[in-house]
């Protein structure tokens, strides 16, 4: 048992860290540090830099452009992205639909789509949730009816993250309304430019536009856009959801937030002294740090166990990482609220895709995004399977209850 990184792993970490610092545009890094929104171009630019280096789809098999890194190296890469901080390669393509195509897609699909995912030529979004199908996803009703060499899709998806940028959407659709609910679902790739698709923004409580509703009204989808077999889509979706075993806890992100909290709490004065010298504040911060350290070790245990795994089934331990990771992320946003104090109040919306915001800031220049981030981060215990659903999974899969 040696819980330290080996010299080779440390050298790898330095290589990754150096590359990020030398190649990530400072404007992008600054936005992430300050909690501001990234423009579409920021994400595309960075992913193409990574792709040129051969790191955009690090987790894929080597034959499709992956790196062949060990689980520990993959972990270090993710961690460094979050610590820098740098944008993640777009997950909908890189960690979701890409791996599903690699495992179950046709050769034509793989040859056409995979290189375009790696270079972010196609922006993918995820069409899973529906207004009536959230936690009970398998109850989804968006229907795809076979009509010759096409499916005709009708229905509605919701919570579709960044659909406003998307070229393609991967959807779970019902192809057999008679079958048991998990057995009549298929996995379809749909071009967002197809006639009959409407995207409508959903504005979340902080005022931002991340998620959307997507409506399908007699949308024609060629049958070659079916992934794998008809009515096997639920299996592919489970594969997709279970693959993300590590990184889900976003330990690096929380570390970076804690660094930011300390930086700002040293600037912000509370009476005669900086807030960071307040004993009660320090104890709250230290308590979160301890939780985070424990989560990091738990995460490393899961990463280290990867090499003993022979199957590709979801690791229920990833549910624990999700629960604890999201709670800690939320705790960091609460601490930032405490740091900013009264200047949490002014509402200073960012302009979408425009960092030339000319108005002078109200209050400390760093105050603007803090309350919106706090409000927005309530999502982390809801998305990706609510924490309550995660507990159901753990109760069943680990505890046998």
């Amino acid at each position: 048992m040696d819980l330290r990184f080996t010299p080779e792993e440390l050298a790898f970490r330095d290589e990754v860290r150096t590359f990020f610092h030398e190649n990530l545009p400072e404007s992008i890094r600054t936005k992430l540090v300050e909690g501001k929104k990234l423009a579409k171009d920021d994400i595309v630019t960075w992913q193409r830099i990574l792709n040129k280096k051969g790191w955009a789809v690090a987790n894929w098999p080597v034959e499709w452009g992956g790196t062949g890194w060990t689980p520990v190296q993959q972990y270090i890469f993710q961690e460094e992205l979050q610590l820098t901080p740098a944008p993640q390669p777009l997950g909908f393509g890189v960690t979701m639909v890409g791996p599903v195509m690699i495992a179950f897609g046709s050769e034509t699909q793989k040859k056409h789509f995979l290189p375009r995912i790696a270079n972010l030529e196609d922006w993918w979004c995820q069409g899973f949730s529906e207004p009536g199908s959230g936690s009970d996803l398998a109850s989804l009703r968006t229907a795809a009816k076979r009509d010759g060499d096409h499916y005709i899709v009708n229905g509605q998806k919701t919570w579709t993250t960044l659909a406003q940028h998307a070229d393609w959407i991967f959807c779970l659709v019902r192809t057999d309304p008679q079958a048991k609910k998990q057995e009549g679902i298929s996995f379809l790739l749909i071009d967002m430019k197809t006639p009959g698709i409407t995207v409508r923004p959903i504005i979340t409580i902080e005022g931002g536009h991340e998620v959307n509703e997507v409506f399908f009204d007699d949308v024609n989808v060629p049958v070659e856009n079916l992934v794998g077999q008809e009515n096997k889509g639920w299996d592919y979706a489970k594969y997709l959801l279970g693959r993300e075993r590590t990184g889900i806890a976003r330990v690096g992100l929380s570390k970076e937030r804690i660094r930011r909290i300390k930086e700002l709490a040293a600037l912000e004065r509370d009476g005669e002294r900086p807030l960071i010298e307040d004993e009660r504040f320090r104890e709250k911060l230290a308590a979160v740090e301890v939780e985070l350290k424990a989560l990091e070790m738990t995460q490393l245990r899961v990463v280290a166990a990867e090499r003993h795994r022979t199957d590709n089934r979801p690791d229920p331990a990833s549910s624990i990482l999700k629960i604890k990771g999201s709670e800690i992320q939320q705790a960091t946003t609460e601490l930032l609220m405490e740091v900013v104090g009264p200047y949490a109040l002014p509402y200073q919306p960012e302009r979408e895709d425009d960092d030339r915001w000319n108005e002078p800031p109200i209050g400390p220049e760093w105050a603007g995004p803090i309350a919106p981030t706090y409000f927005n981060w309530r999502k982390t215990t809801i998305y990706g399977g609510t924490n309550e659903i995660q507990k159901n999974i753990v109760a069943k899969a680990i505890l046998g209850l």
């Binding site: 048992m1 989560l295 505890l399």
Partner: protein, 383 residues
């Protein structure tokens, strides 16, 4: 990065599991507690035969050269079995003082006696007013020719009543809470001037109040540097806390197993109570608390041997905080989910709860360490 046990460590773990399984059933434990000393000398001899008592000592001193991971395995097994014998007091704490503060001659004399089971040690640190501050020492050490005379009172000395030798801190000079001026002394428990009042602890273990009245010891009784003993104490206590964390994890794991088992067998309203979601989620919360604690016990094990005292202390504090918080949650919920049966002396879950509760009170509870960690501005988070 590797969490696997070596082949030898796996064998050790297997033999510990067998030992606890064969010799530490709940009823057997009750019988050991009935012995005059409150634990079993016979089992202690078995531990010696298995090589457990010499485990952390260098081979040159008569030990088998184990490290923190081996100690973790033993302590976790002790936690699972709620073992009564004074392994922590003798081998972890007493042994720690000898390994880090004893000269070669002393080690060659004492370590074989620990390893063969003939010598029990106990560490007297706490005083009536010290709480968990290791620097708060009022027991005095006066020069007496080439030796020393010790006067003072030590409280809650774990296994102080069974010990053949006591290790005590005493002040050579300076104020009550100064970091300088503290000495560590190895004293024969039968020396004139020592009186001991032994008693059971809440969790069924043993401790003693020890009075030292004009106790004369030789120059060779000093462990480490006379007057500069605090770093030695801190080092040994840090190793001790790492060991306690492992013990607590063993006890928490059993409480969680018992609880889940109970949820699967207890029936009310015509169904297993484990089918109720509110209880399922509570059991999952317990699992998360347990796994977070296990992670930190491993982290503490890794950091226990860290030479940089600041890094070591921060890591150990972080672990003790997590163990304290997880232990309280897992223990309280284990009782709650068992309902009335969890409240009874005849059922084992309550005994685990008591042990984990008491572990929080040894060498600083969660709040004590949180305050200390926060004051040091110390984050154990490496970037």
């Amino acid at each position: 990065m590797d969490f696997d046990l070596s082949e030898e460590q796996r064998l050790l773990k297997d033999s510990l599991d067998r030992l606890i399984g064969d010799r530490y059933a709940f009823e057997q434990r009750k019988a050991y507690a009935q012995n005059a000393e409150g634990w079993s000398r016979e089992l202690w001899r078995q531990y010696a035969e298995l090589g457990l008592l010499g485990l952390p000592f260098a081979e040159a001193d008569g030990g088998s050269g184990g490290g923190p991971v081996e100690t973790m395995l033993v302590m976790e097994a002790i936690g699972r079995g709620l073992v009564l014998e004074p392994y922590f007091a003798t081998v972890v704490l007493g042994g720690g003082f000898l390994r880090h503060g004893g000269n070669a001659e002393l080690r060659r004399e004492v370590v074989p006696k620990i390893a063969d089971g003939s010598l029990i040690l106990a560490f007297g640190q706490t005083e009536r007013n010290s709480r968990w501050n290791l620097a708060d020492v009022m027991t005095r050490a006066r020069r007496d020719g080439s030796g020393w005379v010790l006067d003072g009172e030590k409280g809650v000395v774990l296994y102080g009543d069974s010990a053949g030798k006591l290790i005590v801190t005493a002040r050579l000079g300076g104020g009550q809470r100064d970091r300088e001026g503290i000495g560590v002394f190895l004293v024969d428990a039968a020396a004139p001037g020592i009186s001991r009042r032994g008693y059971p602890t809440q969790d069924g273990l043993r401790a003693a109040e020890v009075t030292l009245a004009g106790v004369r010891v030789g120059a060779d009784a000093v462990l480490g540097e006379p007057g500069a003993g605090l770093p030695l104490v801190e080092r040994v206590v840090d190793e001790g806390v790492a060991a306690l964390c492992a013990e607590a994890v063993g006890a928490m794991a059993i409480m969680h197993e018992l609880t889940v088992e109970y949820l699967k067998t207890r029936r009310q309203f015509g169904r297993e109570i484990g089918s109720f979601q509110v209880l399922q989620h509570r059991a999952v919360d317990m699992l998360i608390a347990l796994e977070q604690a296990r992670s930190m016990a491993m982290y503490a094990t890794m950091m226990a041997a860290e030479e940089n005292a600041t890094e070591r202390r921060d890591a150990i504090s972080a672990a003790k905080i997590q163990i304290g918080r997880s232990g309280k949650f897992v223990g309280q919920q284990a009782i709650q989910l068992h309902g009335g049966i969890g409240m009874t002396m005849e059922y084992k879950v309550g005994h685990y709860f008591k042990r984990v509760t008491m572990i929080d009170t040894i060498f600083g509870d969660a709040d004590y360490h949180l305050r200390a960690l926060a004051r040091r501005g110390g984050s154990p988070i490496a970037t």
